[in-house]
């Protein structure tokens, strides 16, 4: 007999068995560790992409703050994220600028994680793996409060009684603006509908300051569902006079419940007194897509039943400009709006395109600083809008109607709110050089 005696063989077998068992145990553990879980893998995604709206005081229809809240909706969540219906972010991912300061979309990898997790039975995993809970502003709090502190100044609309049922309502109070000691420069503004009902009935609104003795208008804050605040880029501000009148323009939509005495607030954050930013901005300006010269606005909107229509509008820049945000506006039949630059040398560039426009979301797409379009004098901003009056449009209230221009949601219009700051030639040359240097540095570092 060999030196492998029976005892040795037995021991060896036992060792091999134990070793094999150990391997199995290790494999099982590894498999368990590789399996996606809510606690470790999905919760961080929901924190980043969902919980700002899907919290007990948010506008989402259900909170998604913990496993118990998420589990009943996993199939729906999978459907919505894989189709990129949620989070709401409607830019075309294949053209134009793709870097945004407020990008709410999920990455392909995040979507894959959610889908795979749901397909595997949506296991919770170890709650000890959960990330720390995030701070979320309450429904009645300022969204910018955490980053900007409380507003320096608050203006309020006059109360309005929103009826339970009826057509769109437009409330246009005109209220004195006073309380500033002198001219200030605005850094940021937030338009806050009341909580909880104002957030349900205010579709969009504007607070425009008409300074005393001046003809200009200062667009302090502009709101649409999905866009409530604006922070101007570093070194950029909006000149606000000490007094004037606020022309409020509030578009309410009845939802079946009376909302008496609704008041909208706008919070203003200023640069420190005496500080004058280098660049003066008008914030968002309205650039029309619809309209024919010499005629009432929008008479070119004629959308047949079950049909589509394309409109284009062009605007020439009479000075250099930097664009910091883009917010298309159409109504229920809106489907696409593209913003394209036609440079003085004829070169064309699609800056941004929203190809899944949804009337329920008035999102402002805020460009990252290093990719903000910097445009020379003579650039044409061309906007192309597409309306879809077919039954395939899920928001279409009646595809058998002819659709023309009007102010109601069932009518149509087309314009873009463009966050833009005009420059002089010196500022433009300097900004272009800085942007080129930054891009060269980025290229080298890559």
């Amino acid at each position: 007999m060999s030196r492998l005696t029976y005892q040795n063989i037995t021991t060896r077998k036992m060792f091999l068995a134990l070793f094999a068992g150990g391997l199995s145990l290790i494999s099982a553990t590894s498999f368990a560790q590789d399996q996606l879980t809510f606690s470790r893998d999905v919760a961080p995604i929901l924190q980043r992409g969902c919980q700002q709206c899907h919290n007990p005081e948010g506008i989402g229809p259900m909170p998604l703050m913990n496993y118990e809240q998420v589990r009943p909706f996993v199939a729906l969540i999978r459907d919505r994220v894989t189709k990129r219906i949620m989070p709401p972010w409607h830019t075309d991912r294949n053209v134009g600028i793709q870097k945004f300061k407020n990008d709410a979309s999920l990455t392909d990898e995040e979507i894959a994680v959610i889908a795979e997790w749901v397909d595997a039975g949506a296991p919770e995993g170890n709650p000890a793996d959960l990330p720390p809970p995030i701070e979320i502003a309450g429904g009645a709090e300022w969204q910018l409060g955490e980053t900007m502190g409380p507003p320096d100044f608050i203006i309020r609309s006059a109360p309005y009684d929103v009826i339970a049922n009826g057509q769109d309502q437009w409330w246009l109070p005109n209220i004195p603006f006073e309380g500033l000691d002198g001219e200030r420069w605005l850094r940021a503004a937030e338009f806050k509908a009341s909580y909880p009902m104002g957030k349900k009935v205010v579709h969009h609104g504007h607070a425009v300051l008409i300074p005393e003795g001046e003809r200009r208008q200062v667009g302090l804050a502009r709101y649409g569902v999905g866009k409530s605040w604006e922070i101007f880029p570093e070194g950029t501000g909006m000149r606000v006079p000490a007094s004037g009148r606020i022309a409020w323009n509030l578009h309410y939509f009845p939802i079946g419940t009376e909302v008496p005495g609704d008041v909208v607030e706008v919070g203003l954050w200023f640069y420190d007194e005496g500080v004058v930013p280098e660049l003066a901005t008008n914030g968002e300006i309205l650039l029309r897509v619809d309209g024919l010269n010499g005629m009432a606005r929008g008479q070119d909107i004629v959308i047949p039943p079950h049909g589509t229509q394309v409109l284009q509008g062009m605007h020439v820049l009479e000075s250099p400009a930097v664009i910091h945000s883009y917010r298309p506006h159409l109504h229920m039949r809106g489907k696409v709006m593209a913003m394209e630059a036609i440079y003085p040398n004829g070169r064309r560039e699609v800056l941004s395109q929203v190809n899944k426009y949804n009337h329920n979301w008035q999102i402002a797409y805020i460009f990252e600083d290093d990719v903000k379009p910097l445009l020379p004098t003579g650039t044409i901003l061309q906007f192309t809008s597409v309306f879809d009056n077919s039954a395939d449009n899920p928001l279409n209230p009646d595809p058998e109607q002819w659709v023309v221009f009007g102010r109601r949601g069932v009518d149509e219009m087309s314009h873009a709110w463009v966050g833009i700051t005009y420059l002089n030639e010196e500022q433009y040359v300097r900004a272009a050089a800085e942007q080129a240097a930054a891009q060269e540095t980025l290229t080298i570092s890559q």
Binding site: D161, Q167, Q299, H306, V310, E318
Partner: protein, 287 residues
Amino acid sequence: MKNSNSVKLPRTLTLIPLLMVVLTVPASGQQILQSQQTWSANVITPSGQAIIPLFDGWFTNDDGTHSLCFGYFNLNSEQSLDIPLGEDNHLSDDRFEALVPTHFDPLPPRYRHKFCVFTVVVPADYGVDEEVIWTISSAGQTLSVPGRINPPYVIDEPVSGGRGNIAPWVRTSIDGPRVRGRNGIQAENVIRTSVGEEVTIPVWIEHPEEDVWLGWAKHSGPGDVSFSMAEYELAMDNTIPATRSTAAAVFSEPGDYVVRMQTINTIAAFEFYCCHTNAYFNISVTP
């Protein structure tokens, strides 16, 4: 940091003429046939194009019935069309009385289209799946639109909150009943005149604002109607119960006409869909 004086104020942008392309629609829907229209980058041309019937919306009356509001969009900026009632101009349901127009004015340059030129009153129990379809055939196109009690298309009547728009009260005689809103009022008496003779059509308006807009138009009839002033702002005299206004009209052919008057506090309110008042006057013209 630069002094603010060195920063130029924003400059205005120049809006250059638009390009517009109208796409044809799938075979299942109505089409503006490219073969039968003057192809143009502009959907609006001076002449040669069709009348589009529009459903402006619906409202509930005090007695529980509902009114379906129909307007129209003339694709011509200069050409008016006359389309007699019948195969080329009809409603799908003849159970309901309606003052369907046969005359279609050019596209108004100052406001979006001709709003709610007539209503169809349907019963209180009219179903959401029921409809009255208005069909117009013109310039080689047969186009139609359904009027339905569809909740998103509800309109306020005769007042609307927010903007505070109020439909003017209208009388067609100094002692007659006053009416406001889009169902309108039909003058009791027939006004008689002869071809080429100028006739005065009076109306009395009440409204709390300083002035209101009035528009006069031929609603139906065999010949042309010219008005001394087809559209104007009327200053309200609120020291008296109602402010009188008149239209001077001349008719080119003998026959029976209907003249339509619309009044609203401001034409800017039309596109907010509240609220104007219609009035209809029967004119008998002899040779």
